[in-house]
C-alpha cells in the first residue's frame, strides 16, 4: 500500500507541536507581563488641562497635602480641590500668568476644571481615605513621592493583590499618623520600619480586614 503521508509529515507534525507549545508558553508569559496593573496602570501620567506641578507645590514650596486635599482625614474621598482653593493664592501670586488662564476662567464661570483622573478604584471597591490616613498609612504608600512629580503619575498598581499584601502585613507601611502627609518621612535612627510599624499597629489596634466584605460591601 502506498504511503499516506510523505516522510516529512512527522517533521511537520513535530514542528507544529513545538510551535503550539512555544506559543502557549509565550502567550502565558506575555499575559502575565502585560496583563496585570503593574504594567497597565503604573506609569499612567496623562497631561492635565492646566500643567499643575505637585513637584513645585508639595516639593519646592512644601505645602501640606492637606491644604488642597482637605477632606482626606475625615472622608472616604481625599477630594480634588475646588477652583477657589487654587485662586486663594493665585489671585495674588502670578495672577496674570497665561499658564493659569483656564483656572481663572473656571473661577469666573464656576465651571469645574476638567482634571484627568489618575487614581481610580473600581466601583465595587469601598476605599476609605480617612481610615488609612488616621491609622498611619502615609500618602506616599499608595501615591508615591508626589512631591517629586511634575506631572502626577500612577505610582503603585492598586490591584487587589497589592492591597491585600499590606492588609496582611501592615507593619511595613505604618508610621505615626502625624507623619502621614510627610512624604519624606523615614523611621527614626535606630529603629526599623517594622519596629515602628508593629508599635503603631499595637497602639492604634490596627486590624485591617481580609474578608471579602471588608472592601466589597
Amino acid at each position: 500500500m502506498a504511503n499516506v503521508f510523505r516522510p516529512r509529515a512527522d517533521l511537520w507534525l513535530r514542528q507544529i507541536a513545538a510551535f503550539a507549545v512555544l506559543a502557549s508558553v509565550g502567550g502565558t508569559a506575555a499575559l502575565y507581563y502585560y496583563g496585570p496593573p503593574e504594567y497597565t496602570r503604573v506609569g499612567y501620567a496623562p497631561l492635565q488641562p492646566t500643567a499643575f506641578s505637585h513637584e513645585l507645590h508639595a516639593g519646592q514650596i512644601g505645602m501640606s497635602c492637606l491644604y488642597c486635599h482637605s477632606n482626606v482625614e475625615e472622608s472616604p474621598h481625599a477630594m480634588v480641590p475646588p477652583t477657589a482653593t487654587c485662586l486663594n493664592c493665585h489671585n495674588q501670586v502670578r495672577a496674570n500668568s497665561p499658564l493659569l488662564a483656564e483656572i481663572r476662567e473656571a473661577g469666573k464661570t464656576g465651571r469645574a476644571v476638567a482634571w484627568e483622573r489618575v487614581h481610580k478604584t473600581p466601583d465595587y471597591v469601598y476605599f476609605n481615605h480617612s481610615v488609612h490616613v488616621k491609622r498611619g498609612v502615609g500618602c506616599v504608600s499608595c501615591h508615591g513621592k508626589v512631591n517629586e512629580m511634575p506631572i502626577i503619575r500612577h505610582d503603585q498598581p492598586l490591584s487587589m493583590g497589592w492591597c491585600l499584601e499590606c492588609h496582611r502585613n501592615p507593619e511595613f507601611a505604618l508610621r505615626p499618623p502625624s507623619e502621614a502627609t510627610n512624604l519624606d518621612w523615614s523611621p527614626p535612627v535606630g529603629q526599623t520600619q517594622v519596629e515602628v510599624g508593629l508599635h503603631i499597629k499595637q497602639q492604634l489596634a490596627v486590624n485591617p480586614p481580609q474578608t471579602c466584605a471588608g472592601c466589597h460591601r
Partner: protein, 470 residues
Amino acid sequence: MSTSAQDSLARPLLVEGGRTYASLTDLVAGLVERKPPRWWLPAFLASGALATVGVAMAAYLISTGVGVWGLNEPVGWAFDITNFVFWIGIGHAGTLISAILFLFRQKWRTSINRFAEAMTLFAVVCAGMFPLIHMGRVWLFWYLVPLPNANAIYPNFRSALMWDVVAVSTYGTVSLLFWYVGLIPDLATIRDRTSGLRQKIYGFFALGWRGSARHWREYEVAYLLLAGLATPLVLSVHTIVSFDFATAILPGWHTTIFPPYFVAGAVFSGFAMVLTLMIPARELYGLKDVVTLHHLENMSKILMATGLMVGYAYGVEQFVTWYGGNDFEKYTFRNRAFGPYAWAYWTMVSCNVLSPQVFWFKWFRRTPWAMFAVSIFVNIGMWFERFVIIVTSLHRDYLPSSWGMFIPTWVDVAQLAGSFGIFLTLFLLFLRFVPMVALSEVKGVLHEQLEHAHAEPPPHPASRRKEARS
C-alpha cells in the same frame, strides 16, 4: 437466535449472524465510508436547530443576566444544576462500560463501549455548560482555576464546588483520552480503506498506526493503564458532585448516603441513556449482529440492579429521617412526598423504582421496544430525581418566612431542550464520522468465538481458565 438456547451452560455468542472479520469490517467501516442513511440529514438538521436554540438561550442569559431564569431566593439552584447533575450522571455509563467492565473481563462490553464512551463525552460537554452559564458572568470562570493573579484571588480548596471543577475536568480529559486511544486502530482501518482527503484526515488521527506487534503491545498497556485510571473516576466524580450538596447543612442535602446513592443513580441514568440511543441505532444501522439481544439483556439487568439501589436509597433516606427524629429533616421529606412538588417526587419514584421492575421478566429484557420505553421512563425519572433533591430541599428550609416556590421560565425550558440538541448533534456527528463499534476489540471476541468455540476440552487447567474469560 444463537444455539446457546439448547445448552444452558454454553455462553451466548457475542457476535451473531455468522460474521467473519471481513464482513464485520465492511459493516462497521462501511457506515462511515458510505453515504449516511436517508434519515441522517433531517435528523441532523433538526437536532442542529435545537442546539442553536441552546446556544441562543445561553447567549441571551449571558447578555441579559441570570434573571431570565426562574430561579431566585430561596431557590438559588434549579434547572441549571439539575441539568448539570443529570448530564454528568449520564456520562457515567461510558466509563463504567469501558473501564470497569474491561477490568472485570466482561467481553460483551466491546460491542457497546465506543458508543457509550462517545455518549459520555458529549454528556460531559452538556454538563460542563451549565455550571459555566449559571454564573452569569462566564468570563470570570478562571476564578475557579488556581492561577496566580493580580487580585490575589485563589480558589478555596475546602469547597466541594472547587473539587467538582477538578473532578469533572479530570473526568472529561481521561474519558477523551481513553476514547481516543481505543479509536486509533479503527481509524487506521478506515484510513487503509479510503483515499484522498478522507484518507489524510483519518490518517492524521490514526497517528501512524501500522498494527505491528510492538504497536499492539504498547496500545494494550496504554489501554489498561487508562482503564485503571478511569475506574476510580467512575466512583469519584459523582461522589464529589454529591458533596456539592452533602457538605451543605440544608435538610435533604446533608446526608452521608449521598455519595453511593449518587453513583448508583449516575450509572442507572447512564445505562438508560445508552439503551435509549443504542436501540434505535442498532435498528437503523443494521448492527443487530454485533449488538445482540444478549447485550441488551445484560444492560437491562444492570439497569434493574442500579434501579434497585436507587430505590433502596430513597427508602433509606426516609427511614433515617424518621429514625433521626430531626424536625426540619422530617418536614423536608414530608414536604417532598406531599408538598407542592409532590408530583415531581412521585414521578421520580414511579419512573426510577417501579418501571425497571418489569425486567424481572425475560420477555421485557429481550424486547427492544419495551426496553426503549423503560429507558425513556428512567431518563425522565432521573432528571426529576435531581430536580426533587435540589428544588424541594431549597424551597422550604429552616425559616418559614423565607419559603418560596420555583417556577421555570420559558428560557429554563428552552435551555434544557437546547442541551439535548447539543448532545444529539454531537452524537449524530459521531455516528457519521467515527466507527461506532470498537472493531478491533470485537474482532478479538470474534477470534475467540471462531477459533475456540468448537475446540475439544482444553488439555490443562491453565488454558481452561483462559477460555472461561471469553
